[in-house]
């Protein structure tokens, strides 16, 4: 393997990691606040459609991104309404949201677009100077803006979660909502905020698929990526750096197996395709340490009762 091939594998891996990273970082906030949103996939599909449709109609991918953030936030709000205010079982409401997003995005596409239509998506932005660095330049600094955004969000979300008082409130609400409540932190408000932020990031992850990858929309465009993002939150132990590690591991394995197939290296295709999953599961299995999760994850909060 020469260095060109290695550059392609690494650059592709970074590109592939982007939707997982965006959606998983959003879901991290959601779960840190004590809610698990299994509807990420559906939100991604709605975000993918909104981004695609706004770009198609308005001619600007930036407006497409704005639309995906808005729709994603709205979907998060629906989840918040159902699971926080109405206290519905979180797993079921999440699956409902997933099916809702899948059905609605397909329906809107059929009604307002009709058939496969391509758009001008986001262009790669070469970072001046940095993209000239041999090897690292094309790997790290020749991507579209959403790729940079996703990777920048890792330290940013880390800072928000661990260094700000809002982050402290989120963690408190996800661990001991009763305690947070007695100290005057509104559990409901924090969970609403997290679900909306998580929805916006999932919407953005969807927009990355239509604006940054496919440059078109099709039914079920996410093809399971939202569920992988949820798994990566567990893999990353609810921390941005862990999620980064998991996303990169999974995506690099994926990019690597594609290249193995393309180069015709004698390796059964069935094994190649599942390689990313195997690598991730093995990494999860051998990573030691106690499995930690937000203590109130999945529990609805009712003031005055034990969680």
């Amino acid at each position: 393997m020469n260095s060109d091939i290695i550059i392609i594998i690494l650059a592709t891996g970074i590109r592939l990691a982007t939707p997982y990273l965006l959606a998983a970082l959003g879901e991290m906030f959601v779960q840190r606040s004590g809610v698990y949103n299994l509807g990420v996939e559906g939100i991604m599909m709605m975000g993918a459609f909104a981004g695609f449709y706004a770009t198609l109609q308005l001619g600007s991918p930036l407006l497409g991104i704005a639309a995906s953030l808005a729709i994603g936030g709205l979907m998060g709000l629906i989840m918040a309404l159902v699971s926080v205010t109405f206290k519905a079982e979180q797993g079921i409401s999440g699956i409902g949201l997933y099916m809702f997003g899948w059905g609605l995005s397909g329906l809107l596409f059929r009604l307002y677009v009709g058939g496969i239509t391509s758009i001008e998506g986001l262009k790669a932005i070469k970072i001046p100077l940095l993209s000239q660095i041999p090897f690292l330049g094309p790997v790290l600094f020749d991507h579209n803006m959403l790729v940079y955004t996703a990777f920048l969000l890792v330290p940013v979300t880390g800072f928000i979660l661990f260094k700000t008082s809002w982050g402290l409130n989120v963690r408190a609400v996800g661990n001991k909502p009763e305690a947070a409540d007695t100290l005057g932190v509104s559990v409901v408000r924090i969970r609403y905020q997290c679900l909306i932020v998580g929805g916006m990031l999932a919407g953005l992850a969807g927009a990355f698929l239509t604006l940054g990858q496919a440059n078109m929309f099709a039914d079920n465009i996410t093809a399971g990526r939202g569920f992988i993002a949820i798994a990566l939150v567990y893999f990353g132990r609810w921390s941005p750096w862990g999620i980064l590690l998991g996303s990169l591991l999974f995506s690099l394995a994926d990019s690597f197996q594609s290249m193995i197939q393309v180069l015709g290296i004698n390796f059964p295709y069935e094994l190649a395709v599942i390689l990313p999953y195997i690598v991730t599961i093995v990494a999860l299995a051998i990573s030691y340490g106690r499995v930690w999760a937000p203590a109130a994850l999945g529990k609805t909060f009712q003031r005055g009762t034990r969680g």
Partner: protein, 338 residues
């Protein structure tokens, strides 16, 4: 209790939203159906506008309708029924509603059909790609390898980098047949041109197909091809890169990338459906395997007139000669060994 109710409500809501887009409800049988109207129902694994397998059949049915008259042929379609169990209930419903011909457009429907068809002996069923028939079940079988061979030859004689890339879905059925044809055609066209075959492991991951196409191009392929409904994702990735070209199968995909689709293998479903209708009129409800191939024009090769100058004259001549040889039976494109 309130919680459960709400969850139930949400589930029902979403299900109705889903099914709302999944199935176009068939218009109930009008009383005027007595006037020799043929009612055809189509069940699709993907969508009616996938620019591939599904859409090619939909357009074939529309052509039948236009030829025979809109008042003579009624068509109902249900899409996104990749799940064989859901497809089974749709097929059974159509049969109960009295549709004459029910086309289950996918090889995955074979076993579902065996359960249903016995209950409706007067209905004609058809499915494919497949071989197993019953007295009231036709199986159709496109010789995808024939067009694959011709496109492979074309690719080998046109490529500048000497690498032809295949973006495959899942290594099975039609994809294997088509890819095997391409590989043989490339080898015949120019012995030192390489075919690189890779699969995404999915039929409908257009983003994955696009990424695989990018990897193929990055590693040197300049002419790419691939089958299934996700192929448009790969085609879109090809269309973003100047100097890279695509060969499409199932139907002509040049509408979304007119500057990048060199040629296409096109299935002519109109002829197959017309044949089924005629056989049914004569009293043959099924029991035959209908083969699509170049010999009877049920498969054809279509060039993109806009890119005619990108194909060297000798390449086109060689391909046309091979096509004649396939039609005359002189050239037999091999199928992959089981």
């Amino acid at each position: 209790m309130k919680k459960k109710l709400l969850a139930l409500l949400l589930a029902v809501l979403t299900l109705s939203a889903l099914s709302g887009c999944a199935a176009k409800p068939a218009t109930p049988a009008p009383e005027a159906a007595k006037t020799e109207k043929i009612r055809i129902a189509l069940v699709l694994p993907a969508t009616v506008d996938d620019l591939a397998w599904g859409q090619s059949m939909v357009e074939g049915l529309k052509a039948v309708q236009n030829t025979m008259g809109k008042d003579k042929v009624e068509i109902a379609t249900s899409e996104k029924l990749g799940n064989a169990v859901d497809a089974g209930s749709a097929i059974r419903q159509y049969a109960t509603q009295g549709y004459d011909i029910i086309i289950a457009h996918g090889s995955q429907y074979q076993s579902v059909l065996t359960e249903i068809t016995k209950d409706f002996p007067k209905t004609t069923f058809a499915y494919g790609t497949g071989f197993a028939t019953q007295p009231n079940v036709f199986a159709y079988d496109p010789q995808a390898q024939e067009g694959g061979y011709l496109l492979g030859m074309l690719a080998a004689l046109t490529t500048k980098t000497g690498i032809v890339g295949i973006v495959g879905p899942v290594e099975s059925g039609d994809a294997v047949k088509y890819n095997y044809g391409v590989q043989q055609g490339v080898l015949k066209g120019k012995a030192d041109v390489k075919t690189r075959t890779a699969y995404t492991g999915s039929f409908n991951d257009i983003v994955g197909a696009g990424n695989l196409a990018k990897t193929q191009m990055g590693a040197g392929a300049d002419i790419l091809t691939g089958s299934s409904q996700q192929a448009v994702g790969a085609l879109r990735a090809v269309a973003e890169t100047p100097g890279k070209y695509w060969l499409s199968t199932d139907m002509d995909q040049s509408s979304i990338a007119p500057d990048h689709v060199l040629a296409a293998q096109v299935y002519n479903w109109e002829k197959i459906v017309t044949k089924i209708i005629e056989l049914r009129k004569k009293g043959t409800l099924g029991g035959q395997v209908l083969t699509l191939g170049f010999a009877d024009g049920t498969i054809d090769l279509k060039y993109n007139p806009k890119l005619a100058d990108k194909i060297p004259a000798e390449a086109k001549a060689a391909v046309e000669q091979a096509k004649k040889d396939i039609i005359s039976g002189k050239l037999k494109v091999e199928l992959p060994k089981k």
